[in-house]
């Protein structure tokens, strides 16, 4: 990661098309989350007269859930929770992690020592298990969920930002800026940040994917978003009895999550120049 950081993004034409498709799907989900009340055909709690766990029909294109609610509307509102909460958590994790990482790289000394050792210790905590402990202690409200997901991914974001900033910090133009008499805030904002923005954005995309997976995993266990609200993971859980009839209510929300996470990965690969497919 660190040695590719200083190179500008290369647009490899063969790899760009999947990237654009990924980006389109990501934008689609963002739009769904934003416009949920407008595009959902029914209110999230409305019960249709098609029966429970019904297969797809004209009235309910994705079937109905275990209470007979329209699955399409449930998924649209669920996307709101999944995208919204994960985005918030990923933004917090990336912002806090990057600020601390740049600080550690620029200040060095004991600031770096304390921050790096702490992140080393925290990074080895298994996330889902840590989340279980916190949910057991604090219950699962939306602020707790966002906080614990963000906290889980701060050490990772910190580590990336620190190594990127440390690389840039050793460059000649930083020496020149210092010799010119520029202060630390100027150096951070005008010299370091523009040079590490792209890889930090790439990392942010990955944090978002991790957040989606952790959050929906928790909800799937019944410990995330609580009823009557439901994110996509909770939708899979509450309709899990439909698994024996292969009802769309179980499969659709799970596939919705998969399209979102795969799309983010494709967009990062194709557009932000992370060379994963080719070396």
């Amino acid at each position: 990661m660190s040695d590719t950081a200083l190179r500008p993004a290369r647009f490899r034409y063969g790899a760009v098309l999947p990237g654009w498709i990924g980006l389109a799907v990501v934008v689609f989900w963002l739009a769904v989350a934003l416009l949920a009340p407008i595009i959902a055909p029914h209110p999230a709690g409305a019960i249709l007269r098609v029966g429970t766990l019904a297969p797809a029909s004209a009235a309910a294109p994705f079937g109905t859930d275990f209470l007979g609610r329209d699955m399409l509307s449930r998924v649209i509102y669920g996307a709101r929770y999944t995208v919204g909460l994960s985005l918030l958590a990923a933004i917090c994790a990336s912002a806090i992690g990057s600020v601390l990482g740049i600080l550690a790289a620029v200040r060095g000394g004991w600031t770096d020592g304390v921050l790096s050792r702490t992140s080393d210790a925290l990074i080895s905590l298994p996330h889902l298990m840590f989340a279980l402990v916190i949910v057991a202690a604090l219950g699962s409200s939306l602020p707790v969920l966002v906080g614990l997901v963000a906290f889980s991914y701060i050490p990772g974001a910190f580590r990336i930002a620190r190594s990127l900033a440390a690389n840039v910090n050793a460059m000649d133009f930083i020496q020149v800026a210092r010799a010119r008499g520029e202060g630390t805030p100027y150096i951070v904002l005008h010299e370091i940040l523009p040079n590490i923005l792209l890889p930090v954005l790439t990392d942010f995309g990955l944090r978002f994917v991790f957040s989606v997976l952790l959050l929906s995993g928790l909800s799937f266990l019944g410990l995330g978003v609580q009823p009557p609200n439901a994110d996509l993971g909770a939708l899979v859980r509450e309709n899990i009895e439909g698994i024996y009839d292969a009802a769309p209510a179980v499969i659709v929300p799970a596939i919705a999550i998969a399209t979102l996470t795969i799309a983010v990965n494709l967009a990062i690969d194709g557009l932000l120049g992370r060379s994963r497919l080719t070396d």
Binding site: A121, V135, A136, S216, G217, I240, D245, I262, T278
Partner: protein, 313 residues
């Protein structure tokens, strides 16, 4: 070399200590009273007071932490709040099941991912490499419970090849297959995806180095170059990759045990979280941390042992 390993052991012990502190603080964030919770309806003031003394609840938090830690060391994990059985007993009945599941998964996924990773690195840039790359990215970004539910719908409901629920029956080979195939395959998918990618990345760097090119120019057979010249140098990074991916198994195990209703440790912990059974949660969390640290330690020792520069002369 022994000195290095000893230092790693010390490091592991320190990290475990830090983790125990984190788990203790995490489970004591809310000032709930364990004595009240334990006694439930029978909580008279006298009984609560007596139990509080017996459980050291009147002591300060640091002292309670030390008591708890001392208990962990001696195998005394306290008593479950929900079932009033000792935590050690509850865990003892589940630990073997989880280890069996993890062991079977490791036995399947390590060889498969090594083979995939090595072949993808050797045939870099070919169609095979691209397909594995896309496949593994997809497998890594899909939630575990999607794989598990799709597997149940396909193989248990539609095709009816395997039961949808898994019980740890190992009396005969057919029984073993019928109860473990679905959970083990589900778990392996994520592990294989991650491990093969890391294996490939570790090996690609070495295949690019000049000494491998030298071996190629000398006219050695490709098989010999990979197995005798490149692989020994990649062993350390690959062991690390294996440990990291197996520890991601942890998240997967929690989901898979719940979906297949498998009586393992992770299911026990999830149930404990819904009943807020703190002593049980603490013990399970520490066991998971221990498992994780042991894996990382094994990988470290493996990379130290395979590094020729550290071998005694």
């Amino acid at each position: 070399m022994l000195q290095l390993i000893a230092r790693r052991l010390g490091h592991t012990a320190l990290t475990l200590l830090a983790m125990s502190l984190a788990v203790f603080i995490g489970t004591n964030l809310l000032p709930g009273d364990v004595a009240d919770a334990l006694l439930g309806q029978a909580a008279t003031p006298e009984a609560t007071a007596a139990l509080r003394t017996a459980l050291h609840l009147n002591e300060s938090a640091p002292l309670r932490y030390l008591h708890w830690l001392a208990g962990l060391m001696t195998g005394d994990f306290g008593q479950s709040l929900a079932s009033h059985i000792s935590v050690a007993q509850l865990i003892g009945s589940r630990l073997g099941n989880s280890l069996l599941l993890a062991g079977l998964t490791a036995a399947l996924s390590i060889p498969v991912s090594l083979a995939l990773g090595i072949t993808a690195a050797v045939w870099r840039g070919t169609l095979f490499d691209r397909i594995t790359a896309i496949g593994t990215i997809a497998a890594v970004s899909v939630p575990d419970f999607l794989v598990a539910t799709v597997a149940v719908i396909l193989f248990a409901v539609e095709l009816q090849w395997f039961p949808a629920l898994s019980t740890p029956r190992i009396a005969s080979i057919p029984e073993l297959f019928s109860s473990f195939t679905l959970p083990v395959l589900t778990l392996s998918l994520a592990v294989v995806a991650q491990m093969s990618r890391m294996t490939r990345a570790a090996l690609v760097g070495i295949l690019d180095s000049s000494y491998v090119e030298m071996a190629r120019l000398k006219g050695l057979r490709p098989g010999r170059i990979v197995l005798r010249h490149a692989l020994p140098n990649a062993a350390g990074p690959i062991a690390n990759a294996a440990a990291l991916s197996l520890s991601s198994l942890l998240g997967g195990v929690i989901i898979v045990e719940v979906v297949f209703n498998y009586p393992g440790l992770a299911k026990l912990m999830v149930d404990a979280v819904s009943t807020r059974d703190m002593p049980l949660i603490q013990a399970c969390a520490m066991l998971f941390c221990l498992g994780y640290m042991v894996l990382v330690l094994l990988a470290d020792i493996c990379s130290i042992a395979t590094n020729p520069r550290l071998r005694p002369a």
